[in-house]
């Protein structure tokens, strides 16, 4: 595969010499679905079946179960460990193969797994984690018989209380293959490339240091497969990213770790990060234990010393200063689109408009409940508004200012599922940025231990060589590809229900939503 620069021949004429020099062959990644089984020996299951001592090992349960929960291998007298993760639980009671009823000795008992209480939290409940794992394994939404309540969390507000008002039947019958969920990223008509992503999301910034190289590369490969993007975060641009330059966003954040002219020239989108939803107004944190020799080298810092990015850019006092920075990036890389990532203060609408007038192609809002590798708890919970509010405020204000169709509004901050993505777009976003969900696909259980010691015990948010060797890049990228595929199907399913052929038709259609805490007595026009 060749670099996008070669294809964009018009730009070759005006590109600085250095930009050409940065070209490297690009790697293609298949979007093909492949089974990517979980990497742990014992999967966590929603239900468990207890077998008591009355069992006579007759094997009837193994014979009747179409899911293959009970395993009695030929020639063995004892059962192997049951595959509880495929048990559909109480939904099986209505069938003619419910093992508990069919057991001649009544030796089986179906119970909810008590460990589910400890899996996840209000925003990422256990069911949502299991469903995401299932999607990452198979590439399909979890079958309904699993009874996973995964479309919403239990936080009791925001997206968790919003539902789509699906019509009884679609107004027109559309083949899912005809549905386009791609998003244009450059609406400024400024002569820069018209970058289009095939799905209405791209991957959020996660630096090398906050996550492992395998995690970063898995994200990059999945982004390449779906013709979308991943982001380096503010931890520098690892050389191993080079084969995925065309699908990488490099971040210029306040710490400027590893930011060089040549790294800016490699990519098609450069992101200016002002703030992060998990710690608005505080700058990045990478605690000492995670600053390994590799991390220190790429960031040009000292091993074992905590890294706190300053906040904000010390050279930005105004929108004019911001414009100066964007102009600098645009001059360095004349084919790049520029994204500005901001958090969600009270005046987020003004900030978004200012970013547009400063020259941003993409305004990225990161809501107050966003993800992080390390942040003060006080900031995660209390500072800046949740993204649900910000989307509405900004979308409406951009409309009022008459610039809504000249800027791409991407949002993030605790978006977990395809339904969250679709709801964000219905509230007014063009697309979303995801992060934690990709990590969950890799086996994250949202235990929030990413910051301490060697980092993530699951080998995802760590740079410890031993821990990060827990999974391969290929396995990781397939898991994320599968998750993306499942999301694609779900989003197309939502659009199909409304008779829409394009995701752009959904933007701002809040009239298709209802809020469970409201009387929904206002009709909102498009």
């Amino acid at each position: 595969m060749v670099n996008s620069l070669v294809q964009e021949s018009d730009f070759n004429l005006i590109l600085p010499e250095k930009t050409i020099q940065t070209m490297v062959p690009q790697t293609a990644v298949s979007r093909e679905l492949k089974l990517a089984p979980p990497r742990y020996r014992n999967e966590i299951a929603k239900y468990i079946i207890r077998r008591n001592s009355a069992c006579i090992k007759c094997g009837k349960c193994a014979k009747v179960c179409p899911q293959g929960v009970h395993v009695l291998k030929p020639g063995y007298k004892l059962f192997s460990s049951p595959k509880l993760q495929v048990c559909i639980g109480p939904a099986c009671q209505k069938t003619d193969h419910y093992c508990v009823d069919l057991c001649p000795q009544k030796a089986l008992q179906l119970v909810e797994n008590p460990q589910m209480k400890l899996l996840g939290d209000f925003r990422w409940p256990g069911d949502m984690i299991l469903a995401t794992w299932k999607m990452a394994e198979t590439g399909n939404p979890p079958p309904p018989e699993y009874n996973y309540e995964y479309e919403t969390g239990n936080s009791g507000g925001g997206f968790d209380r919003i539902r789509f008002k699906f019509p009884a039947k679609p107004p027109v019958d559309i083949n899912e293959n005809e549905i386009d969920i791609g998003v244009e990223l450059n609406r400024r008509n400024d002569g820069r490339p018209n970058i289009r992503i095939d799905v209405p999301w791209y991957g959020g910034g996660m630096s090398f240091g906050s996550v492992s190289m395998s995690t970063q590369l898995a994200k990059a490969r999945a982004a390449t497969a779906f013709n979308t993007f991943t982001c380096t975060g503010e931890g520098g641009y690892p050389e191993r990213f080079r084969p995925y330059d065309d699908h990488t966003i490099t971040q210029v954040a306040t710490g400027l770790f590893g930011v060089r002219e040549e790294t800016i020239q490699r990519v098609r989108i450069v992101e200016f990060k002002y703030a992060q939803g998990a710690k608005p107004g505080l700058g990045g944190h990478l605690l000492a234990d995670k600053v390994t020799p590799g991390v220190a080298k790429i960031r040009e810092t000292v091993m074992g010393i905590s890294l706190f990015s300053p906040f904000p850019f010390h050279s930005v006092y105004s929108i004019e200063d911001h414009k100066k920075h964007l102009d600098w990036i645009k001059h360095l890389n004349r084919r790049a689109l520029v994204a500005t990532k901001v958090s969600t203060p009270n005046d987020v609408d003004m900030v978004a408009v200012g970013s547009y007038f400063a020259g941003s192609h993409i305004v990225h809002l990161d809501g107050g409940y966003g993800g992080t590798g390390a942040a003060p708890d006080i900031a995660k919970k209390n500072i800046a508004m949740p993204i649900e509010y910000a989307i509405i405020k900004v979308h409406r204000f951009l409309e009022k200012e008459g610039i809504r169709d000249k800027v791409t509004l991407m949002v993030s901050g605790g978006l977990r599922t395809a339904h969250d993505i679709a709801k964000s777009i219905a509230l007014g976003a063009d697309g979303v940025i995801v992060g934690t969900a990709e990590l969950v696909a890799l086996g994250c259980i949202h235990c929030s231990r990413c910051e301490s010691g060697r980092g993530c015990p699951r080998g995802i948010a760590t740079t410890d060589p031993e821990l990060s060797a827990q999974f391969s890049v290929e396995w990781g990228s397939q898991r994320i590809v599968n998750l993306y595929s499942a999301w694609e199907k779900e989003i197309k399913g939502i659009l199909k229900s409304f008779g829409m052929r394009s995701i752009t038709e959904l933007r701002g259609r809040s009239d298709l939503l209802e809020h469970l805490d409201y009387n929904n007595d206002v009709g909102t026009k498009k």
Binding site: R41, F122, Y274, L282, G371, T372, I378, K380, R449
Partner: protein, 469 residues
């Protein structure tokens, strides 16, 4: 950060085994005895620590529960014989308001004096009651100062307690007339008396010493003054004598040495204030008002008077209005008082202190945004001493966590650490807001976002009227 701006906290280890959220249950039966047992691979080394704990076990009724809940061993065990289980002792900590999570984080802060930092995003409810129904604002560009790395080094958390004149007055010779007494404390936090249920006489000296070490004030019942021992006079600059309606007045000699006194509200309040001011005009007098059914009106009424220096508005332990069926929350009551006094032009002249329900550092910042100049805390300091708020504080029975046996190094150290951690967190929040002075945080509702208002402004326009549950 320059050393002079940093308050150094020293780790003070807990006396008791930690009460963690979960533990691992090991069924043992059917163990294959693998050479590469998952227990050895625990990233947090918890199994080895557990073994050590069991070897030197003192509290036989306390299980080891420091598992970090990562499920790695549970999912990797060859025979699948490990299971994660919730720790019932953790779930029984505190109550609905003082949740196990609040108690756990308070213990951690009291131990190391650091800002709690964790990975992953926010994991809690979208919103809640009380202080959880608001967010603080941040600024993308505006910073309190450009000095230093973070612009936080020179944020001032100092506040003034007392009556502030609207303008300076000068005599005929051009000399400034005497100002009313004002007490400058380094952070907007005052230590209050523990509620009667939790009061232990051995804690009074520790709380006073903590106030002295942090430079703030502590309110103590005047009757407890003798508990401070022989060198009690050295603590006088940090003491606020609480004089209940039945209290005898301190001697004039003692009263002349004290910076502030607090009295209970009552029908003859003006007379009592005048009497105290006559004895020591340099002492600030605070009036403690219970936020009951008439508390708000009473505070507004009193706040209109120019002889009022400080009003201390106190809700119940959970920050609720006292003695009513549908109680209002302290932040809402204080905000009403604040706004009313702003409207009538009296707010800048006097000081409002709010207490009750301040359980976390964020509550301090939010209460100040809602109109208080400073807050008072009580229970968090008790929790810092590993209290579990079990409410079995009957003096006739022994405390399950032996509060009566604690020593000064531990007691003062833990309370000091907690205040240091709160101070740093306040600076983090102010830094994010772009506010350089705690004085300017007061009533700055423009730097706060309220759940009801945001809902109305956004979802209200899309979905109409809100259901009332």
């Amino acid at each position: 950060m320059p050393e002079k701006y940093h308050i150094e906290a020293k780790t003070i280890a807990p006396r008791l085994p930690r009460t963690g959220k979960c533990g691992v249950v090991d069924w043992r039966e059917d163990c294959a005895g693998c050479h590469n047992c998952v227990k050895k691979a625990c990233v947090f080394d918890r199994y080895r620590l557990e073994t050590q704990y069991i070897r030197r076990l003192n509290n036989i009724d306390t299980i080891y529960s420091e598992c970090m809940g990562c499920f790695s061993c549970v999912q990797n065990c060859t025979k699948g014989i490990l299971a994660l289980s919730a720790n019932p002792a953790y779930e029984n900590l505190g109550n609905d308001y003082w949740t196990p999570a609040i108690i756990e984080t308070t213990w951690a802060q009291a131990e190391n004096g650091k800002i709690p930092v964790s990975g992953a995003g926010y994991r809690g409810k979208f919103t809640g009651n009380g202080f959880d129904s608001m967010w603080t604002d941040m600024s993308e560009i505006v910073r309190p100062t450009r000095d230093g790395i973070h612009g936080r080094e020179y944020i001032s958390t100092a506040v003034d307690i007392g009556r502030k004149p609207g303008f300076l007055s000068f005599d005929v010779y051009g000399k400034a007339l005497a100002l009313p007494p004002i007490i400058d404390i380094p952070m907007p936090l005052i230590i209050d008396m523990l509620p009667p249920t939790y009061r232990r006489s051995n804690l009074v000296p520790f709380m006073v010493a903590t106030a002295a070490r942090t430079g703030t004030l502590t309110i103590i019942d005047y009757n407890d003054y003798d508990l401070l021992g022989a060198d009690k006079q050295k603590y006088l600059p940090n003491l606020v004598f609480f004089l209940g309606s039945g209290n005898q007045l301190p001697s004039t000699e003692l009263l002349l040495k004290i910076k502030m006194v607090e009295i209970t509200d009552g029908h003859d309040i003006e007379h009592r204030v005048t009497e105290l001011k006559k004895l020591n005009p340099e002492a600030v007098v605070s009036i403690r008002i219970q936020m009951d059914s008439t508390g708000v009106e009473r505070a507004i009424e009193l706040g209109q008077n120019t002889w009022i220096e400080v009003l201390h508005l106190v809700g119940d332990l959970n920050g609720n209005q006292i003695g009513v069926n549908n109680p209002r929350f302290i932040k809402d009551m204080v905000l009403q008082v604040h706004k009313s006094l702003v409207k009538s032009g009296h707010r800048d002249g006097m000081t409002l202190i709010a207490g009750g329900g301040i359980a976390l550092a964020e509550h301090m910042a939010k209460q100040i945004l809602c109109g208080a100049d400073a807050v008072t805390i009580d229970l968090p300091l008790l929790v810092a001493l590993e209290c579990k708020l079990c409410t079995t504080c009957d003096p006739s029975s022994s405390c399950p966590v032996d509060i009566e046996k604690i020593e000064a190094i531990y007691g003062v150290g833990r309370m000091f650490n907690l205040i240091v951690a709160w101070h740093d967190q306040l600076i983090e929040m102010m830094g994010a807001m772009g506010i350089r002075e705690a004085r300017r945080l007061r009533g700055e509702t423009g730097r706060a976002m309220f759940f009801d208002e945001l809902e109305e402004e956004t979802f209200g326009k899309l979905f109409g009227s809100r259901k009332r549950f």
